[in-house]
C-alpha cells in the first residue's frame, strides 16, 4: 500500500503542534507532502499540563495536515522532550556458552544486559541507542552478526524518563484513535535531518532551541554520545523581555521576532525602537541595547548550561566536535545566535535546517520544523526493509513498541 511509504511525524511543542506528512522516495530520501500546524495550548516547557486542550490542538493539526495532503492519517511518530528525560552511556557484556557464530539473540542479550541498571522507580527506558560492538577485545566491530566469538560487548546510549509523563504525552494522541509507531527523543529526530552522516562521524553537537526546551545531542564516530534537555527555550526569552521592558507577553513575542537579536549589546549601536499605540496598549520607546542585553544574557546562559552539562558528562566530548555545532529549532532564527554559540563553545557554529529532504521547500527551510521532519526521516530509517544505512543508525528498541503491544 502507498501508506507504507508515507510517514507522519507529530511534534507537540510548547509553541506549536506540527504534523509533517512525508513520503519516502526511491533515492532513499524523503519528500514532504504537507504540513499541518496549529498554535499550541496546554503545553509548558515541552510537557503537557492540560490534556484536554492539547488533545484538541493535536486533532486540529492532524485535520489540517489531512486536508492539505489528502492523506488519511492513521499512524504517527511522536517526538518527546521534557526536563524529566535523562541519559547515560552503559556497556553490556554477554559471554557465549561456547565459541560460535554470534546470533541475533546474542545481540539482544547484550542489549538487555546494558539495560540492567537501576533507574529511579518512576522512570522507564525511552531509547537504547547502540554506539559500538566489541568482540573478544576487537573494538568497534561494525556488525558482529555471524562472526565467530565468545565475549561480546556493546556500548549503548540510554535515554530514560518518567513513565507517567511520557504516557500523558502519548495519551493525547491515542485519544484521537491514532496509532503511535514509536516515540522519539526530539533532539534525536532533529539530528536526522540537520546533520549529515559525515558530520556525525566527524563529531557534531546539535542544539535544538524550541519554545519551551533546549534539546541537545552529541554525535561522534557516527554514534550518539550524549543527549540532554534543558527546560529553557524561546518562551523564556519572551518572558524576560516582558518582565524587563514591562510589556505584555504578546508584544514581547512580537518584539523578539521583529527586532530581537542575541548580539553582544556592547558591540551594537545605540537606538530606539518605537512601539505604536494599540487598543489597550500605550506605545513606548524601547532602548535597543536593553532589548539586546535581555536576549543576549539568556541565550548565552542557555549555551553555557549546555556546555556545562556536556563537560560534566566527561569524556572530553567538546574536544571531539570536528563538524562543530549545529543550531536548529524556532530560536535558531534569532539574529546573532550563532555568534553567541561560537563564543561559548569556541567552535564553528551553523544555523541548520532540514537537509536532503524534498517537497515543500519553505517547510524544510524553516528550522522550527526540524524535529517534525526529522521524525519522518527517522521513521524511514527504522522501517526500511533492508538493514538501515550502517549499523550506527540502528535503534534497537524504542518506547512505542511497548505501547503497541500493550494493546492500548
Amino acid at each position: 500500500m502507498a501508506n507504507e511509504q508515507i510517514f507522519v511525524g507529530l511534534e507537540i511543542g510548547t509553541t506549536k503542534i506540527c504534523v509533517i506528512v512525508a513520503e519516502s522516495r526511491a533515492d532513499d530520501q524523503i519528500s514532504i507532502l504537507g504540513v499541518g500546524e496549529t498554535p499550541s495550548r496546554g503545553v509548558r516547557k515541552g510537557e503537557i499540563v492540560d490534556m484536554a486542550t492539547v488533545t484538541e490542538c493535536v486533532r486540529e493539526a492532524i485535520v489540517d495536515a489531512e486536508e492539505k495532503t489528502n492523506v488519511e492519517i492513521g499512524n504517527v511518530w511522536v517526538a518527546i522532550t521534557g526536563s524529566h528525560l535523562r541519559s547515560f552511556n552503559n556497556r553490556g557484556t554477554h559471554t557465549l556458552p561456547h565459541a560460535g557464530q554470534i546470533q541475533q539473540e546474542d545481540l539482544d542479550m547484550v542489549q538487555a544486559n546494558a539495560k540492567e541498571v537501576a533507574l529511579p522507580p518512576p522512570n522507564t527506558f525511552l531509547h537504547t541507542i547502540l554506539q559500538a560492538y566489541h568482540l573478544d577485545g576487537n573494538r568497534n566491530v561494525i556488525d558482529p552478526l555471524d562472526s565467530e566469538g565468545i565475549q561480546l560487548e556493546a556500548d549503548f546510549h540510554i535515554v530514560h524518563g518518567i513513565k507517567t509523563r511520557i504516557t500523558n504525552h502519548l495519551r493525547c494522541v491515542e485519544e484521537l484513535n491514532l496509532e503511535i509507531e514509536d516515540v522519539v527523543l526530539s533532539s534525536l529526530a532533529s539530528a536526522q535531518v540537520v546533520v549529515t552522516q559525515h558530520q556525525k562521524d566527524l563529531g557534531v553537537l546539535v542544539i535544538d532551541i524550541g519554545g519551551g526546551t533546549t534539546d541537545y545531542l552529541i554525535y561522534n564516530d557516527g554514534a550518539v554520545r550524549h543527549s540532554g534537555v534543558l527546560a529553557i527555550g524561546g518562551d523564556h526569552i519572551t518572558n524576560d523581555i516582558s518582565v524587563g521592558l514591562k510589556l505584555p507577553i504578546a508584544r514581547a513575542e512580537m518584539l523578539k521576532i521583529q527586532e530581537g537579536s542575541a548580539t553582544d549589546p556592547s558591540e551594537s549601536e545605540v537606538g530606539v525602537i518605537t512601539l505604536k499605540n494599540d487598543p489597550g496598549f500605550l506605545g513606548c520607546d524601547i532602548d535597543r541595547r536593553s532589548l539586546e542585553t535581555i536576549i543576549h544574557c539568556r541565550v548565552k546562559e542557555i549555551f553555557e548550561l549546555v556546555r556545562a552539562d556536556i563537560e560534566n558528562a566527561g569524556g572530553g566530548m567538546l574536544g571531539l566536535l570536528g563538524a562543530g555545532v549545529m543550531i536548529t529549532g524556532g530560536c535558531a532564527k534569532l539574529r546573532g545566535i550563532a555568534e553567541v554559540a561560537s563564543e561559548v563553545f569556541d567552535q564553528a557554529v551553523q544555523v541548520s535546517t532540514a537537509r536532503n529532504v524534498g517537497g515543500a521547500l519553505q517547510t524544510f527551510e524553516n528550522p522550527q520544523y526540524s524535529t517534525a521532519i526529522g521524525l519522518t526521516k527517522y521513521a524511514r530509517l527504522i522501517t526500511k526493509d533492508a538493514q538501515p544505512q550502517g549499523m550506527l543508525e540502528r535503534i534497537t528498541q524504542g518506547f512505542g513498541g511497548l505501547f503497541k503491544k500493550g494493546g492500548r
Binding site: 509548558r44 518572558n239 514591562k246 507577553i249 518605537t274 520607546d285
Partner: protein
C-alpha cells in the same frame, strides 16, 4: 517539673493574645504549652485553650500578685517562653512586660510578638504601647513588632475595622509561630538564638515579617511569593513585593515542610531573598523537614530595619540586673514606670512607627546611618523584585540552585533602560 511538661511555652496575654492563641489552638488541637493570661473573665472562659490564668480586676500591680506564683510554677523548667498580645490596652501593656520579667528572672529565653495599635485607636494608646514596648525590649531576647498601621497599607479608612483587627491577629499568630519555630528549631539547619537576637533585639527597629504557605510542584515559589507580598514586607508607599527588605543587614529565613523539602528549594529561597535584600545581607536559614508528607511548606521571612543602636550593649547590662531582682519588684517597677513616664519614651519610639522618617534619613545619609536607615533605599533595579512572569505558576527549572525561570539579566543584576512611554 516532670519530663512531660512542655519545654516551650506560648503565652497569649490580654484579649488580643487570647484570640491569637485560640486561632492557633483551633488549628493545632494537640498542641501543648499554650497558656492564656487575661483580666477579662469573659475572654478567658470563651477560650479553647485549657491552661488559663485569670488576673483579678483592680490595680494591675496588685492583681499581678495573684498570678505571679502560678505563672512562675508553670514556666519553671521551661526553655523558652514566647509572649504575644496587643500593646496599648491596659492589660496587655502592663501584663506583657511584667510576665516577661518574671520569666526572664527564672533564666528562661523570653521572646515577644506584639501588635502596636492602629492610629485610629488614639494617641494615648499608642503612647502606652510605645512605653510598654520599650520595657519589653529591655527584658526580652527578641521582640517582633507588628505595626498594625502597616498591615492596612497605612489607610485604615478604607479597611473594615473588624477585618483590620482580624488581619492583625493573624499576622501576630504567623509571627508567633515563626518566632517559636526559630527558637525551638530541631534542625537539620538551625537559626541560633543569637541570630534571632541580632534581628529582633534591635531597639527602635521596625520588624519586617512575611509568611507564605503552599503545596504542589511549585510550592517554594508560591510560598515565597505569598511571603514577599505580606504587607509588612512591602516597601512603604510602593507595591513592590519584598521591597522593604532592600538593604536590610540580616534576614531570618525559616522553612518548614515535609521530608522531601529539597536542598535546591532552600537554595532558591536564599538566592531570591539575597537578590532582593542586596549584597551584604546575611541570611540565617532554619529548616525543619519533619512535617507529614502531604503537608504544605511554610516559609517565613523575618528582618528588621531602622533602629538606633545594636541590641547587645544595653541588653547585657539590663539583663544582668534582672536575675538579682525578685520577680515582684520589677513587675511593680514596670507598673509605676508605665504610668509615670509615657511621653518621653514615646518620643524615642516615634520614628519607628512611621517609615517616612527612615526614608528621609536615607537621602541625607551619614556614615553612621548607613547600617540602618540608609538601607531602606531601593536596590539596583527599579523592577518588581520578584519576577517569574508567565512561569509564575509552573514547575520551576532549577539548575545548580538557580531558578532559571527568573530572567537572566535580573539574576545577574544587570540594569536596563526602562521604556519611555509615549
Amino acid at each position: 517539673m516532670s519530663g512531660s511538661a512542655p519545654r516551650h511555652f506560648l503565652v497569649g496575654v490580654g484579649n488580643a493574645g487570647v484570640t491569637v492563641l485560640d486561632l492557633l489552638a483551633l488549628n493545632n488541637l494537640e498542641m501543648k504549652g499554650l497558656l492564656c493570661v487575661n483580666n477579662d473573665p469573659e475572654s478567658l472562659s470563651a477560650s479553647v485553650v485549657t491552661d488559663r490564668l485569670g488576673v483579678p480586676e483592680g490595680d494591675p500591680s496588685e492583681a499581678f500578685l495573684a498570678i505571679d506564683g502560678p505563672f512562675g510554677d508553670m514556666v519553671s523548667g521551661a526553655s523558652s517562653v514566647v509572649l504575644c498580645g496587643g500593646l496599648g490596652g491596659e492589660s496587655g501593656s502592663f501584663l506583657l512586660p511584667a510576665l516577661a520579667i518574671l520569666a526572664k528572672s527564672s533564666g528562661i529565653t523570653v521572646a515577644a510578638c506584639v501588635g502596636m495599635p492602629f492610629s485610629f485607636e488614639g494617641k494615648q494608646k499608642r503612647e502606652l504601647a510605645a512605653s510598654a514596648l520599650e520595657k519589653l525590649r529591655t527584658v526580652c531576647d527578641a521582640v517582633a513588632v507588628i505595626e498594625n498601621d502597616r498591615l492596612t497599607g497605612g489607610s485604615p479608612s478604607t479597611a473594615a475595622v473588624g477585618e483590620a483587627f482580624s488581619l492583625s491577629d493573624r499576622t501576630i499568630l504567623a509571627a508567633l509561630q515563626a518566632l517559636q519555630g526559630m527558637i525551638t528549631n530541631s534542625g537539620p539547619v538551625k537559626i541560633t538564638r543569637s541570630d534571632i537576637k541580632s534581628v529582633l533585639g534591635v531597639p527602635g527597629a521596625v520588624t519586617l515579617f512575611g509568611l507564605g504557605t503552599a503545596k504542589g510542584p511549585n510550592r517554594l515559589h508560591e510560598a515565597l511569593e505569598h511571603a514577599l507580598k505580606s504587607p509588612l514586607l512591602t516597601a512603604p508607599g510602593k507595591n513592590t513585593p519584598g521591597g522593604a527588605l532592600a538593604g536590610v543587614s540580616t534576614v531570618l529565613l525559616l522553612l518548614r515542610g515535609p521530608a522531601d523539602l529539597s536542598f535546591a528549594e532552600v537554595q532558591v529561597a536564599v538566592s531570591e531573598i539575597e537578590r532582593i535584600a542586596g549584597e551584604g545581607c546575611q541570611i540565617k536559614t532554619g529548616v525543619h523537614a519533619d512535617l507529614s508528607p502531604d503537608a504544605p511548606i511554610t516559609l517565613s521571612i523575618t528582618a528588621s530595619s531602622g533602629g538606633g543602636q545594636t541590641a547587645e550593649k544595653p541588653k547585657t547590662t539590663l539583663l544582668s540586673e534582672i536575675p538579682e531582682a525578685k520577680p515582684l519588684e520589677p513587675a511593680a517597677q514596670v507598673a509605676t514606670r508605665a504610668k509615670a513616664e509615657p511621653t518621653p519614651v514615646a518620643d524615642s519610639i516615634k520614628p519607628v512607627s512611621s517609615a517616612k522618617p527612615i526614608k528621609s534619613t536615607a537621602g541625607a545619609s551619614t556614615k553612621g546611618d548607613k547600617q540602618s536607615a540608609g538601607k531602606q533605599t531601593q536596590g539596583t533595579l527599579d523592577l518588581d523584585s520578584y519576577q517569574r512572569g508567565r512561569f509564575d505558576k509552573s514547575e520551576p527549572t532549577i539548575v545548580a540552585g538557580e531558578d532559571l525561570d527568573v530572567p537572566t539579566f535580573l539574576r545577574k543584576g544587570i540594569k536596563l533602560t526602562q521604556p519611555h512611554r509615549n
